[in-house]
């Protein structure tokens, strides 16, 4: 038989994929636990999400949540910083703390036979951090230097300015998680301790565990090591006022740049089950994938860039829409023109085949999101963060498939607003000015905080 290579093979058989089952229970101190039993490897992944992100940082104290997370594991439960780190390392356990705008996340990845010892250390960090002055001062000055270093990084600077101009001063989400040099310098150890006392409580946290362990054994160990974690009554609030922006180009000068970082976008309504899937389809067609319109145009047809994408960035209580790319200086104007073209053109409708492609891609990719222990834990954590319905994953494929062409076109009208675009350029202003002069858009030169100069 001669093989006909011209024919793309067709899939055999339907895929037999079952979603991992989530069990939930609550410790007597109120800590809610989500557990997925996964047994193909002798390991356990644990994520603790604490509702304590940088959006809660007080005015002029930006970086407080992040610095707290940096100091938290510098000694705990009678172990100094180096001893604590050694104990984790001796177990071969990965322990980490990260902070974003919404939450502080403690994670543990460990071999099953090292789980109890690792959990014991985890509990020390969480319940009995030392918060020594010397450790605080070291981490504080390291962070200040880290912020200084980030001024070298064009992507970081573009994001920094974009967050600020799109969300505005009156919005806690517009400030950097790591803070500014002067705000971090003003933070005191007492403020770190207060932040910890206020936010690091079970009722303000959710625990996700994925791994090779029995349900009752997990419950016993968590009770033993985390049940002493006590609650306190606290109210948290943060500023979340957003204003619509006028179309403007914000130019941040970075001397001797050989590329221009570009961000284009605007504030967007919150993530909602009512329109999430319509926006997902819209973005998949517009710029969410390699073969989406924006990347095919800027990279594969014009060679302006190594890559270009768009996305809806969803925070718990805020959101924005953003196109981002990095291009050669000489193509800055051309690239911007093509981005603006694609944002206009998406309002002229989409094709059936684009919609079918987006649906096929997202529904068939679904099982790939549940491969690693970490992916499963992140999936559940996201479900908690956005307060998604219980059956979110069960209904995911059906929800994607139910989106119609007219709904995507409607979503383009509602969620891509070309009159409200903020355009951020980070590059050498002396080389950029004539590239952007004929857009008839006001150009404002800004500093790294997005303030006009």
């Amino acid at each position: 038989m001669i093989l006909d290579r011209t024919q793309k093979p067709v899939n055999i058989a339907e895929l037999n994929f079952t979603l991992p089952k989530t069990e939930t229970f609550t410790l007597s101190n109120g800590l809610k636990v989500y557990f997925i039993n996964k047994t193909n490897l002798p390991m356990i992944r644990l994520n603790l999400m604490i509702n304590a992100g940088s959006k809660f940082d007080p005015k002029n104290k930006n970086g407080l949540s992040y610095l707290t997370s940096l100091v938290l594991d510098e000694g705990a439960g009678g172990l100094d910083a180096l001893e604590l780190s050694d104990e984790f390392d001796m177990l071969g356990t990965n322990f980490g703390i990260s902070t974003d705008n919404d939450s502080t996340n403690l994670s543990l990845q460990t071999l099953s036979d090292k789980f109890e010892k690792s959990l014991e250390l985890f509990s020390k960090v969480l319940l009995q951090p030392s918060f020594n002055k010397a450790d605080f001062e070291r981490e504080q000055s390291k962070l200040i230097n880290r912020i200084l270093q980030s001024k070298d990084e064009p992507e970081y600077l573009a994001d920094l300015v974009f967050d600020n101009v799109v969300l505005g001063d009156q919005n806690s989400y517009s400030y950097p998680v790591s803070g500014y040099e002067e705000t971090v310098a003003s933070i005191t150890l007492e403020e770190i301790k207060n932040h910890y006392r206020k936010f690091f409580v079970p009722s303000n946290s959710n625990l996700v565990v994925v791994g090779n362990i029995k349900n009752d054994e997990l419950f016993r160990l968590l009770t033993k090591h985390l049940n002493n974690w006590v609650n306190s009554k606290n109210d948290f609030s943060f500023k979340n006022i957003s204003t619509t922006q006028q179309k403007k180009i914000y130019l941040l000068h970075k001397e001797d740049s050989v590329q221009t970082e570009i961000r284009v976008g605007h504030h967007s309504p919150l993530r909602s089950q009512d329109d999430y899937f319509q926006r997902l389809m819209l973005n998949t067609i517009l710029g969410g994938q390699f073969t989406s319109r924006i990347n095919l145009n800027l990279r594969e047809r014009n060679g302006y860039t190594y890559g270009a994408t768009s996305r809806f960035q969803y925070y718990k209580d805020n959101a924005f829409f953003e196109v981002s790319t990095s291009v050669g200086i000489e193509n800055t104007g051309n690239a911007l023109k093509e981005i603006l073209f694609e944002l206009e053109n998406i309002h002229n409708g989409i094709t059936d085949s684009e919609l079918e492609f987006a649906k096929s891609s997202l529904t068939k990719k679904f099982p790939l999101n549940f491969e690693t222990y970490r992916q499963i834990a992140s999936g559940i954590t996201g479900k908690i963060l956005y307060n998604l319905p219980e059956d979110y994953f069960d209904e995911y494929i059906a929800n994607v498939n139910s989106v119609s062409k007219s709904e995507v076109e409607q979503a383009a009208k509602l969620f891509v607003d070309n009159n409200a675009l903020s355009i951020v350029l980070v590059g050498d202003k002396n080389l950029l000015k004539d590239k952007i002069s004929n857009f008839n858009i006001e150009v404002v030169e800004v500093d790294t905080k997005g303030k006009s100069l």
């Binding site: 011209t6 270093q149 073969t291 096929s360 068939k364």
Partner: protein
């Protein structure tokens, strides 16, 4: 640990293509991973970066797959895909829902066997632009982005396969011709110069039949050229200073070291971990924790088929002279040469390495790539236990001897200094 003993099936087609099958049915995914035995080390002067540019061209379609469609078909099927170029090899991989195995094999075989008819000047010009942007974005416009290139042009003698970086010099990228790309394919992209791994949820018989069906008819040729393994030495220390748009000065020290899987390779990796792999590692504790004169420090053994290098990198805090950091680093190396490392240090490193082996098994892509990695370097894909054992066998004596063999020799010192 039986989790690291992977039961593989090996085979070879008449045209010389080797394949490895590894079944893991824990989740209905399949990973297809091909290594071609060519990387930037095979390039010649004036044509640096060609292996990487060629990798880009492999995504531009083949006789039965139009431009953009390679990506499109994989994404439409719910898969992910990519490729990468290193000094020693080029790999291509996709991960798909298990029922799309045949699609991946069709795509990979089409570009292995039927790439040239679809190659056009227009596609080449487009991808030259893309790669130029990649270089500008990821190297030239990044703080410290030129460090690797500056080190390797000094560490290796001119013409050594590791003396240029995989991305290539900008001028070379601009000058590739249509013939260069064609000839590169004709020289290296033969089935007998590649190895295919299929890993995940599939039946062996079916996979074997599909591999034969799609790859069996591809004509092989002699892929001849191989760079020579030389053992370059530095006669004396070389100091390079480079001014850059950075806030903080950074010191790089680079020594020649052992080849990958060489006698001292694992011992040098463990030594690197003891120097900088954790908070209580020697250099981190001294420079970052106690003295607080450095913002960071990292040491690592970077080894390939044609060369090895041991690197220590540290960023100075504002106002700190790099001499001070350099002295502490060199003193610490002297100490390791004289005194044994402690039992605790050894055990800590080994426990970390053991866990990382198990954690790596979560991802079928990673597993597939490791199988090809071991096959390429050791001849046997199922070498996870062997590899882990290589680290477990490292002892005080082997660390001392490895450090003595390499880190007491002349080095390249690069200082990236703030323009201020």
């Amino acid at each position: 640990m039986n989790h690291l003993n992977l039961n593989c099936t090996k085979g070879k087609l008449k045209n010389g293509l080797e394949y490895i099958l590894y079944q893991d049915k824990s989740i209905p995914l399949v990973s297809v991973n091909i290594w071609y035995k060519v990387g930037s080390a095979y390039e010649t002067k004036g044509k640096t970066g060609l292996a990487h540019l060629f990798e880009h061209m492999m995504f531009q379609g083949s006789e039965n797959v139009a431009k953009e469609m390679h990506f499109r078909y994989v994404q439409e099927a719910g898969g992910t895909l990519n490729g990468s170029t290193s000094t020693d090899r080029t790999n291509y991989f996709e991960k798909l829902p298990a029922n799309s195995l045949e699609l991946a094999l069709w795509l990979e075989s089409d570009r292995m066997g039927y790439f040239l008819p679809a190659l056009t000047q227009e596609k080449l010009d487009n991808q030259k632009d893309v790669v130029k942007n990649e270089r500008l974005e990821r190297y030239d416009n990044q703080p410290y982005g030129l460090a690797w290139e500056l080190i390797n042009t000094n560490l290796y003698p001119e013409g050594h396969p590791y003396s240029w970086s995989t991305i290539g010099f900008l001028k070379d990228i601009e000058n590739y011709t249509f013939d260069d790309v064609q000839n590169f394919f004709k020289k290296y992209y033969s089935p007998n110069n590649a190895c295919l791994v299929v890993a995940g949820d599939f039946e062996n018989d079916n996979a074997t039949n599909l591999i034969e069906k799609y790859f069996g008819l591809i004509e092989p040729f002699d892929a001849d050229y191989k760079p020579e393994i030389t053992y370059p030495k530095l006669a004396e220390n070389i100091l390079v200073e480079h001014k850059d748009n950075v806030q903080l000065d950074r010191l790089y020290l680079a020594w020649h070291s052992d080849l990958i899987f060489g006698k001292d390779d694992a011992a040098l990796e463990v030594a690197a971990d003891i120097l900088s792999g954790s908070k209580n590692s020697r250099l981190y504790k001294k420079l970052v924790f106690d003295l607080q004169i450095a913002q960071d420090v990292s040491a690592f053994q970077y080894s390939g088929k044609f060369g090895g290098q041991f690197m220590i990198i540290s960023t100075a805090r504002p106002g700190i002279n790099l001499d001070q950091i350099k002295k502490i680093i060199l003193d610490e190396i002297k100490t390791i040469c004289i005194n044994d490392v402690t039992d605790k240090e050894l055990e800590k490193s080994k426990n970390g390495i053991k866990s990382q082996f198990v954690f790596a098994m979560q991802n079928i892509d990673t597993v597939a790539d490791y199988l090809n990695h071991y096959k390429f370097h050791l001849g046997e894909p199922n070498s996870f236990e062997f590899d882990l054992n290589r680290y477990n066998s490292v002892d005080k004596v082997s660390i001392k001897s490895a450090v003595n063999n390499y880190l007491t020799k002349p080095f390249v010192e690069l200082r990236i200094i703030s323009k201020g």
